[in-house]
Amino acid sequence: MAGFGKFTHAVVRGIPTSLAKEALRTDQLDVVDLEKAQKEHEVYVDVLREKLGLQVIQLPADESLPDCVFVEDAAVVCGDTALITRPGAQSRRNEFACLFDTLGLLLRDPSPWPDRGARLLGFLWLLSAFCGRIATMDASLPLRYSATELLRLRLRCHLPGPAPEALHLHPDITFQPRGKYIHRGSRRISSTRRNFVYHQQPEQCIPSIWTPVAQLTVAMKSALKEMDLNIVEMTDDNATLDGGDVLFTGLEFFVGLSKRTNQKGADILADAFKDYVVSTVPVLEGLHLKSFCSMGGPGLIIIGSSELAQKTLKIMQQMSDHRYDKLTVPDDIAANCIYMNLPDKGHVLLHCTPEEFPESSKAFEKLKDYILIPVSNMEKGKVDGALTCCSVLINKKAHV
């Protein structure tokens, strides 16, 4: 595929201070040095922006979202279409954070309301919450805003001028045609002519009513929408999909069925990208499919040497109508690289540093005619963040 690896934009997000303590991780051994992590990330963004000349869109970090730096999971972008995912990290969800989630939970997971009566009560409460708009909030439900706040939000947004950037990117706010915007949490529509002073000072910002998971994607969605991509959202509550499980080879998709991604999610992805074959690959261990593999060029898969990785590669090869070369690196996580094919630079590969994986980084030297850029990912790696996790790459054509 000729255009494979061509990117013009990258979406990244800052590292919240909560990353060190609250981020989900598979092993708790190493302490994350927040400063180092932030430094790393800066370098990472710098490489994208300065060295590679991509337009980088940086979303602000959200303290309530320790994992928000890993934007890859929130969206899959291919061509002009962006699929906003439903990340499957259950623990990222704040189950009672919003009405919608509550409702969904009520319907599919009755455990909080053990008996019928309670469930009925729950329904009634929800109904009243919706219908009355200003519901009397039960303290037991951890809604993070008050009715008054919503009211204030609604009334105080009538300021002239374009919405400030912070507001722009606030996860709860989406802009509608004709000068309307929606505060996702409150569902109030107001005019953009008035500014949302309220959101200009982060300390004053209302805590989002959305679950962190939703927040993760909402910010991404608004950013992508800005770029005029076709946005496809996963609406199925049973579907989960992490972008880290999606490997796009240029010719087809492989979706790893992991703990974070299920068949339904993959199916929605297949529906969103109808032009491509979408094959599913079981990922029995590890976090994501891309935790041990990534694309190293057109038709080149970089793969870890673990048995799991090799097995998965074989499955992929079997499932594919195309032939792929492989580059095996000793360390699984080192197989996660970022490949780009930039007009003025040719093949570019961001990969691990020799300090992290001395052997693996050597393996990349086999790639001739590549610009190899080692990027440290030491700290983020401790919280299961790989190189690809920290950005969403977009190829925005000038035309069309």
Binding site: D267, K274, V278, S279, T280, I315, H322
Partner: protein, 1039 residues
């Protein structure tokens, strides 16, 4: 044989055929007699039967050749044959042979006649003959049940001939040899007629130009005319008058003429059957019999979507393909994204309307009339228009090309979807395409079976099965079953698979007759040209580009639901190997058992390629052949050996089972015997040093077959040189080859195949290390019980089914045999059921490479080695192995070296065989034969035996892979056996690791590495047995 003599004409025909090769028949007859005699002398009923069976099977296979002649008007054939017969009648020797062959051959034509009733009418002249033939058929069918008896009779009668009284051992050997020769001869004979006499007519008419000589199909003017309506791709209706009895190709021809289409093979006609299902019209069959109704409505559709449309020669072909694809896209069969919809739509506009005209009134108008997508909306139309503007200056042909370039990338391009359920009842879709079989769940591809990975396709009732070759990522040779809504859909899917496989996967430009031969063998085979052939043919098209009108106006009103689904993927033909699939369908009518075509296909399957790279294979071959050469140079002095094991075998329950089966269906149990027969062929080699060279060749070929993707047929050819039935036979090319292959396959069926693979790997190795964690039961009998009950619809299928049946019983019998477990020092435990032969060869011939024999055996070529030492003990051992192979693998906790023998003499190989059979241990023969160049060493490490109640479950060949590094080549063959013992399931894995390398290899290290890897791969299992065969070239002295 005597019983069947009743049909004289048939006999005569055969005689004719045989007559064509004057030298051979005589020899053959002699051989036959001798064989028969010898058989009688040995007087082991089982043996004889087995042998006979083998022959018959072969014959049937040969008959396949005749299958080609189907397209010949039957009367033509028969007349010819008669004339010849007369000439030949006088020669008695020929008769004998002919009789033998007759039985099977005679029936072959008959089924065809049955199939086409109409033909019979026309062939009044021949009727009498036909009747006779039919009778013959019936007799043969009848005899099928009772055959053992008849066969015995025959043998007895022949036994009277003088030369019979030979010493038992020698006789046996000779018998075998002779038999094989006989086989070869027979094959040769039977093949010849097809190739030569019949072949002319058939080749011309049936194969090469199915569509070109449609007029011929019209027989006589008596027939009533019917008006067919063919819906063309542009939406028009093409009425055409066709005789009621015309074959499909007549209509095809008419349509192609109308369309002025030269590249026809990608297209087909569909009709709706009584269940409103779209079916493809078979050009080789009568239209009326296919549509089964008076609704003569057809539609013209793309049948095989070329993976790369740019390779099409003519624009008109591309145009038609475009029309089909537009329909597919618009109807939603070919899903694509919004952008792609818009792009395709814009190319459509460009092709049909030319450049965008800004001043055109209401430009959106013609767009809205046209349907581009299932959910077409304003936005899309605007986008289409926008894109259309950008195509300014493109001519229609270019636009079509662009359209195709984009369409071919779509994920479902050329995929013919069929609803099905998997084994767990989950709804899935099966997609047939140029590359293989795809499994979809919802919109996700959840599995893919490329053609090279599929060993066999079959269906039974509403079940559809594919047998998968074990690949690197899989460990088992497995059969995957799917449930289809009903029997018809299963059959339809099966047919589609057969056709797609044939079209995209078989390309035999270098050996066109063969491919044709295969494809034409049965009615259910793809009868047209393969993609390769059609490309070749289209490259020869020399005509000015035809004018045709592009228009979509007609299409607008057309209903889109009618188009049949399609099957093509891009990669398809590129692989270029000709894999031959086993195509199994169930057969309903037991009466029609004669389709021999099936056999041929089986053989092809067996020989199917491994996915190895050519280089690997070549390298292997080179090294192997060298090895072999060195081996061969030393003449094996071993005396002939009685085939006692055969006898035993025959007496075993398996044999009885076998007897019950029709001769054609050779039970797997009989495999060993067959093998032996094959061995006999090669027999002479042992005695005659000069022939050894041939053996070598054989082996290499075999290897090629097994490990490479080379065509099985070619391989076999070289292999089959039968000592007695000399060059004449050998000369007969492809047909014969196929047959030979077939023989092998028939014998052991899939089991053989698996074995072959393993064997081949073995032969290749200088050093062999066996790792048997748990006893791997030897052969993979992939033949699955499913097929036992087969309802036959088609003759050919029946045959297949029978074969399968035959195979099945064998494993069972083996299982039943008690297997004592004795981990005695057996050098080679390797044996799988089929592997018995291997053992034989190894044990017997110390001189020759044990490994080599197995290879040959599977291919049906006997190696000299096998027969060399005549040891009764061997036979016993072999038997034991056959029955109790699995037991042998028993595990002892700690590995101990059981035997390590190196004969003092020059370089000899020691073979020790441990038998687990019925608590008998046989040790055996170690012959020390001076080997000039090679040394073979066998070391067995065995763990304590567990009790294996060796139900010799058929092992499953899991993997066979070869890894090549600079200095070393490792071939691993894995067999897995699962045994159920009292509720506990035990899995035994037998791995054969062949390490081939230069002299400087550290063998020990390599072995250690291999064992280590094996342990790593199966951490939960224990290594119970390690057998090491070491072959070293002495020159290097690195032992």
């Amino acid at each position: 044989m005597t019983t069947e003599v009743g049909s004289e004409t048939e006999v005569k025909e055969k005689a004719e055929e045989t007559a064509t090769q004057p030298d051979q028949p005589e020899k053959a007859t002699e051989d036959n007699q001798e064989v028969a005699n010898s058989e009688n002398a040995t007087a082991e009923g089982g043996e004889e039967e087995v042998e006979v069976v083998v022959e018959e099977e072969e014959d049937k296979k040969e008959k396949d050749g005749k299958g080609i002649s189907r397209f010949l008007p039957p009367w033509l054939k028969k007349q010819k044959s008669q004339g010849q017969v007369v000439a030949n009648e006088t020669s008695p020797t020929n008769k004998v042979i002919s009789e033998a062959t007759e039985e099977e051959e005679a029936p072959a034509p008959a089924p065809e006649t049955n199939g086409h009733i109409e033909e019979v009418e026309e062939k009044e002249e021949v009727q009498s003959e036909e009747v006779k033939q039919k009778e013959a058929e019936s007799t043969s069918n009848a005899s099928a049940d009772t055959q053992p008896a008849t066969e015995e009779k025959v043998t007895e009668s022949t036994a009277q001939s003088p030369g019979e009284a030979k010493s038992a051992t020698e006789d046996v050997k000779e018998e075998e040899q002779q038999q094989q020769q006989k086989k070869n001869e027979v094959e040769g004979k039977s093949i010849e007629p097809a190739a030569t006499g019949d072949g002319k007519g058939t080749a011309d008419e049936g194969l090469s130009s199915i569509f070109q000589s449609p007029l011929r199909l019209v027989r006589r003017n008596k027939m009533k005319l019917v008006v067919c309506h063919v819906a063309l791709l542009d939406g028009t209706d093409f009425p055409c008058e066709v005789e009621k009895r015309a074959k499909g190709q007549f209509l095809f021809f008419k349509v192609y003429e109308h369309l002025n289409l030269m590249e026809r093979d990608y297209f087909g006609l569909t009709y709706k059957d009584s269940h409103e299902q779209r079916c493809w019209l078979d050009p080789t069959k009568d239209i009326k019999r296919q549509i089964r109704s008076n609704n003569w409505q057809f539609s013209f559709n793309v049948k095989f979507y070329p993976p790369d449309p740019s390779l099409l020669t003519e624009d008109i072909t591309r145009y038609l393909l475009c029309l089909q694809l537009r329909e597919d896209v618009a109807s939603g069969r070919l899903p694509c994204s919004f952008v792609t919809h818009a792009l395709l739509g814009s190319y459509t506009l460009q092709a049909e309307h030319g450049d965008y005209e800004p001043d055109q009134p209401q430009p959106l108008d013609y767009i809205t009339k046209q349907s581009f997508a299932p959910n077409q909306n304003k936005e899309m139309e605007e986008k289409i228009l926008e894109l259309h503007k950008s195509h300014r200056g493109m001519n229609p042909a270019q636009a079509d090309t662009q359209f195709l370039e984009n369409a071919k990338k779509l994920s479902m391009y050329g995929v013919d979807l069929h609803r099905a359920k998997d084994s767990e009842g989950v709804d899935i879709m099966l997609g047939v395409c140029a590359n293989g079989l795809l499994v979809y769940k919802d919109k996700l591809r959840i599995n893919r079976f490329a053609w090279p990975k599929i060993l066999k396709i079959s269906y039974k009732r509403n079940n559809y099965y594919i047998k998968i070759r074990p690949g690197e990522s899989e460990q088992f040779e497995s059969t995957v079953g799917f449930k289809l809504p009903n029997h018809r859909s299963a059959k339809r899917l099966w047919k589609v698979c057969v056709e797609n496989h044939s079209f995209f996967r078989l390309n035999s430009p270098e050996v066109p007759p063969k491919a044709r031969f295969l494809t034409l063998g049965s009615k259910f085979r793809y009868s047209g040209r393969t993609q390769t052939q059609t490309r070749l043919a289209s490259s020869l098209i020399d005509r000015p580009a035809p004018n045709f009108e592009r228009t979509s106006s007609k299409r607008i009103s057309r209903s889109l639901d009618g188009a049949p689904v399609i099957n093509i993927t891009e990669a398809g033909s590129e692989n270029g190997h000709e894999p031959h699939l086993e195509l199994h369908s169930d057969s309903k009518s037991p009466m029609r058992v004669h389709g021999q075509n099936i056999y041929v296909r089986h053989s092809n399957l067996m020989l199917e390629d491994h996915d190895k790279t050519q280089e690997d294979v070549l390298r292997h071959q080179a090294s192997i052949s060298q090895l072999k050469r060195s081996f061969m140079e030393a003449p094996p002095p071993s005396p002939p050996q009685p085939n006692q094991w055969e006898k035993r075998f025959s007496s075993s329950p398996a044999a009885t089972l076998r007897a019950q089966h029709h001769p054609p269906e050779q039970p797997a149990a009989s495999v060993p015997t067959e093998v032996s027969a094959a061995d006999n062929n090669s027999f002479p080699d042992t005695k005659e040093p000069g022939k050894t060279a041939q053996v070598e060749i054989e082996e290499t070929h075999v290897i090629q077959e097994v490990s490479k993707e080379t065509k099985p047929a070619t391989v076999t050819v070289t292999v089959s040189p039968s000592p007695d039935a000399p060059e004449g036979v050998a000369l007969q090319p492809e047909v014969r080859e196929q047959e030979v292959v077939v023989v092998v396959e028939e014998a052991s069926d899939t089991a053989t195949r698996a074995r072959q693979e393993s064997v081949s790997s073995e032969s290749e190795s200088d050093e062999e290390a066996e790792y048997q964690p748990n006893l791997p039961s030897p052969i993979s009998h992939t033949l699955i019980p499913e097929e036992k009950e087969e309802e036959v619809e088609e003759v050919e299928r029946e045959e297949q089914g029978e074969q399968e049946k035959g195979v099945e019983p064998a494993p069972i019998t083996k299982e039943t045999a008690p297997h004592p477990i004795e981990a005695s020092q057996s050098a080679q435990d390797v044996e799988r059921e089929n592997g018995a032969e291997e053992e034989k060869g190894e044990t017997d011939d110390s001189t020759e490479d044990p490994m080599m024999t197995p290879d040959e055996v599977p291919n049906g070529h006997a190696l000299p080695e096998e027969e060399a030492p005549g040891m009764a003990a061997l036979a016993e051992e072999e038997e034991a192995k056959v029955n109790g192979e699995s037991p042998m693998a028993d595990s002892e906790p700690r590995p101990q070296v059981i035997c390590c023998s190196e004969p003092p003499v020059v370089k000899t190989e020691m073979v020790t065989i441990s038998d687990t059979f019925a608590a008998q241990k046989t040790h055996i023969t170690t012959k020390e034969v001076p080997i000039v160049h090679t040394e073979t060493k066998t070391i067995t490490y065995e763990a304590a035996q567990l009790d294996n109640n060796g139900e010799g479950d058929p092992g499953v060949l899991m993997t066979a892979q070869t890894i090549t590094s600079e200095s070393l080549c490792t071939t691993t063959t894995t067999h897995i056996t699962k045994t159920l013992k009292g509720g506990l399931s035990e899995t035994r894995i037998e791995k054969r690791i062949v390490i081939t390398g230069d002299s400087d290899i550290d063998h020990d290290q390599a072995l250690a590495q291999a064992i280590k890897e094996a342990k790593e791969q199966h951490p939960d299992m224990s290594v119970t047995r390690v057998v090491v065969h070491k072959e070293t070239e002495l020159a290097e002295e690195d032992e």
